[in-house]
């Protein structure tokens, strides 16, 4: 394993010096509160995501603690439900999405040669409303009667007829999260569309930029639908409407249709940027160009379009007409084609490459294998008659944790290790990073793999107790969960260590790295590309 740590070239030093005289950073708390700088805002997003990751993770620990043994030991069922609900909401909206937005903020302007995001003040606003949204959500846990306990999917009538008053807080908190996402997405699209340096053609853009571009469209299309949906939940609960009440002419299944029309593209919102990250890391450490660049772009776009046509595969057991279930089953299986294109392209990129295995590469490799496992269990779930058996079991939990944790979260960790030297100017501690990787890899599989078995055997999700025959597997799962949580402390240790110092990084950082972000010095100056570079 080799880490490129050659001395900076004279050219770099000179360049560095040139950048410095207009590199004034405002200091103190105002720098972060008033900032319009895409790098500052990116850092804010990433730190926020990390904090939320630990808060959401500690809720998962409560869940696993209760499920360590059969029977009721530590928490009340109602509190257990609040934990599953808020864990899901925080991980989706508070950890994974903001982490990707943080990476977009940091990297997209540097990758396309732009001076900043297109709308810098709005960029600040879309970040700073997020902590307030989650403050409201967390405060709702302390309401009389407890917080939201209807699952992150807040199906009606659980969230209408049978919910408590924290629902109002939940609804408005989701509204703010949605506003934040929409503004962030508009900023990404306008930046990519309008701010590319001369010569940065569409088909020269790095795949991370492409995948985020398409993700931003998904966000603009579906976050408003979520806003409409929570509004209907609010009026159903408090203003006597009956959107989801059959007695008034509505239908609870309508809730699920609208929710999953948002929810399924949302799934791709959380994985497409991951594809972009892996497509950046694999070529660097295989020291080969990405295989099939154009097909990667088209595959991403195809996945995005298909994601609007598959939502009801979450609802096979609601009693839809047969032709509808068939349509959604086939459309869902079709997604395996462009996804397969991607996996094959990554593998083909590594074929006969001069590979090294630094921490970002390790996480990216783990991503390819484990995300593909999650993809295969997704195909199993897509088969309607089989889904009748899997529905609402731990098999589903195993599936979406494979794609979200070993998929999205692993890609985010890979991205952080990959670009951390560019952000801080220091190399991270490679040994510590490898420890983090191996501990995470082993514990995450101990955590999520047995869930497939208990799920296939019929253990239902979102229930605080279970039948005796699931006891051994659940004990393993809980231990895996605890170990995975502890492993992330190594990550934090490595991050702090790298931020405080370490071996100086070169501009290129990685031997095989290509792209504009590797041509500016490390750490990247506060303002990059005040005048756009020309790309040949």
């Amino acid at each position: 394993m080799s880490v490129t740590t050659t001395e900076p070239h004279d050219h770099d030093k000179q360049h560095d010096h040139e950048q410095e005289h207009h590199d004034h950073k405002p200091s103190g708390i105002k720098r972060w509160l008033y900032t319009t700088n895409h790098k500052d805002i990116g850092t804010l997003y990433l730190v926020f995501a990390l904090i939320m990751f630990f808060i959401g993770g500690s809720m998962a620990m409560v869940i696993r603690l209760e499920l360590f043994q059969p029977g009721m030991q530590f928490v009340e069922p109602h509190f257990f439900n609040q934990m599953t609900t808020v864990h899901g909401l925080i991980m989706v909206f508070g950890a994974v999405m903001p982490a990707f937005t943080g990476l977009a903020n940091w990297m997209i302007p540097m990758m396309i040669g732009a001076p900043d995001m297109a709308l810098p003040r709005m960029n600040n606003w879309s970040f700073w409303i997020l902590p307030f949204a989650f403050l409201i959500l967390l405060l709702s846990l302390f309401m009389p009667g407890g917080g939201p306990s209807f699952g992150w999917t807040f199906y009606a009538p659980l969230s209408t007829t049978y919910s408590n008053d924290s629902t109002a807080l939940f609804v408005f908190s989701v509204h703010i999260m949605g506003i934040s996402s929409i503004m962030g997405a508009i900023n990404v699209i306008v930046t990519i569309w309008n701010m590319r340096a001369p010569g940065m053609n569409w088909m020269k853009m790095p795949l991370f930029v492409w995948t985020w571009f398409i993700t931003a469209f998904l966000l603009i299309m579906v976050m408003p639908v979520l806003a409409g949906l929570v509004t209907m939940v609010l009026t159903d609960k408090y203003f006597g409407t009956s959107f989801f009440d059959a007695a008034g002419g509505g239908d609870p299944v309508l809730f699920q249709h609208i929710f999953w029309f948002f929810g399924h593209p949302e799934v791709y919102i959380m994985i497409l940027p991951a594809f972009g990250i892996v497509s950046a890391i694999i070529p660097t450490f295989a020291r080969k160009r990405l295989f099939g660049y154009a097909s990667m772009v088209y595959a991403t776009a195809s996945i995005a379009i298909l994601s609007f046509l598959v939502w009801a595969h979450h609802m096979f057991t609601t009693g839809m007409p047969v032709f509808a279930t068939l349509f959604f089953m086939y459309a869902t299986m079709l997604i395996a084609v462009p996804t397969g294109v991607k996996v094959f392209n990554w593998v083909a990129t590594m074929w006969r490459g001069a590979m090294t295995f630094e921490v970002p590469m390790m996480f990216a490799l783990a991503f390819i294998v484990l995300f593909t496992i999650g993809g295969f269990s997704g195909l199993m779930l897509a088969i309607t008659p089989a889904d009748f058996q899997y529905h609402d079991t731990y098999f589903v939990v195993a599936h979406f944790h494979y794609v979200l944790v070993t998929g999205s979260v692993f890609s985010i960790i890979a991205a952080v290790y990959y670009w951390l030297p560019k952000w801080t100017g220091n190399m991270y501690d490679e040994a510590l990073g490898q420890w983090h990787f191996w501990c995470s890899l082993i514990s995450v599989n101990l955590l999520f793999f047995p869930m497939h078995f208990v799920g296939l055997a019929g253990m239902p999700r979102r229930i605080p107790d279970y039948a005796l025959q699931f006891a051994d597997f659940n004990a393993f799962i809980s231990i895996g969960g605890l170990l995975f949580g502890l492993s992330q402390l190594i990550f934090v240790w490595g991050l702090i260590k790298c931020a405080r110092g370490g071996v100086k990084a070169t501009a290129q950082v990685w031997e095989g790295a290509e792209g504009l972000e590797w041509e500016v010095p490390s750490p990247a100056p506060y303002h990059t590309f005040d005048t756009p570079p020309v790309i040949k």
């Binding site: 405002p26 105002k30 509160l33 008033y34 900032t35 319009t36 900043d116 297109a118 709308l119 810098p120 003040r121 709005m122 600040n124 606003w125 700073w128 409303i129 307030f132 403050l135 409201i136 109002a168 408005f172 908190s173 703010i176 506003i179 929409i182 508009i186 900023n187 699209i189 306008v190 309008n194 603009i220 299309m221 976050m223 408003p224 639908v225 806003a227 409409g228 949906l229 209907m232 609010l234 009026t235 408090y238 203003f239 006597g240 409407t241 009956s242 959107f243 059959a246 007695a247 002419g249 509505g250 239908d251 309508l254 249709h257 609208i258 009693g319 007409p321 303002h527 756009p532 020309v534």
Partner: protein
């Protein structure tokens, strides 16, 4: 290589307004949630006050932020590229607004075409109908819900038709205001913009009157079943958007009076106009789908 000189993309240094806006949204959301809880329980609480405080801070933020932006624009800091950013940003914002309305149109479509027919026993739902609501008749408008709430439908003739004509004319007058701006005819610009504002205000007033009529005379209420739900939420959110659009146009009008905007650079006018045309298109969809069909 092009020889075109590069215009610097203006990146504002630091701005206090976004964080002020974030605090405003916090009070609005937290206050609104408690206000909703308070009125549903018919108790008095602090929710309403927090909501008002939030709106006050929001107005303060909007004034400060827009003053900043207008000053920057008038002192020529904005390049053509910057103008494109604004235009694209506004366009995608309108797309997101379209999707917000799509959620409610989608609900209406589903409720009318699918849920209502199933409640009437079609598809594989014969037993739902037989056992739960055997007297239910699946006809649209849904003036009698399965649970037995009765109401009357809002006819499309009369007030809604007049309102449609008013809003369409307002879009036309706004278009003439725009051509006036582009052809340096300031008189036409002012007159047509004023006319648009008056037509917008008339539309809103007539909508208020129609709501009163619906509640008092027709017994059509927000809580009178799926028909009332979709009617009031769709027309209500549309009305909110018209009101917002009219407020934006009002400020554009003030800026026109102060001599702002040139034939080449008038993003604020353009954005307000796009927004107004957008609410007009939404209304036409609404008129056809909610009132006529």
């Amino acid at each position: 290589m092009t020889t075109k000189t590069y215009e610097k993309y203006y990146v504002p240094a630091q701005s206090p307004w976004p964080i002020v806006g974030a605090v405003a949204l916090f009070f609005i959301a937290f206050g609104a949630a408690h206000y909703v809880i308070d009125i549903s329980k018919q108790q008095s609480g602090f929710g309403g006050y927090l909501l008002l405080l939030g709106f006050a801070i929001l107005v303060f933020m909007l004034v400060g932020w827009f003053r900043n932006v207008i000053d920057e624009s008038m002192s020529g800091l904005y390049s053509a590229q910057m103008d494109r950013s604004f235009r694209q940003g506004m366009s995608w914002f309108i797309v997101s607004e379209v999707m917000f309305f799509m959620a409610f149109f989608g609900a209406l479509f589903y409720g009318r075409i699918i849920a209502m027919q199933w409640l009437g026993g079609s598809s594989n739902n014969a037993m739902t109908f037989e056992l739960l609501w055997p007297n239910f008749e699946p006809v649209w408008p849904l003036i009698k819900t399965p649970g037995g709430i009765e109401t009357q439908a809002m006819p499309w003739t009369g007030l809604p038709l007049i309102n449609t004509i008013i809003l369409v004319i307002s879009s036309v007058t706004l278009h003439f205001a725009h051509t006036g701006l582009e052809q340096q005819k300031r008189g036409q610009l002012k007159l047509m913009l004023l006319l648009t504002l008056l037509l917008g205000a008339t539309f809103i007033s007539l909508q208020v009157y129609e709501y009163i009529h619906a509640y008092r005379d027709l017994g059509l209420r927000l809580d009178s079943g799926f028909y009332g739900n979709t009617f009031f939420l769709l027309t209500g959110f549309h009305g909110l958007h018209v009101t917002l659009g009219a407020i934006i146009l009002l400020f554009v009008f003030f800026r026109v009076l102060k001599g702002h905007f040139t034939p080449e650079k008038h993003f604020a006018f353009q954005a307000a106009a796009w927004y107004w045309h957008f609410v007009d298109v939404v209304w036409i969809c609404l008129f056809v789908i909610v009132y006529m069909l």
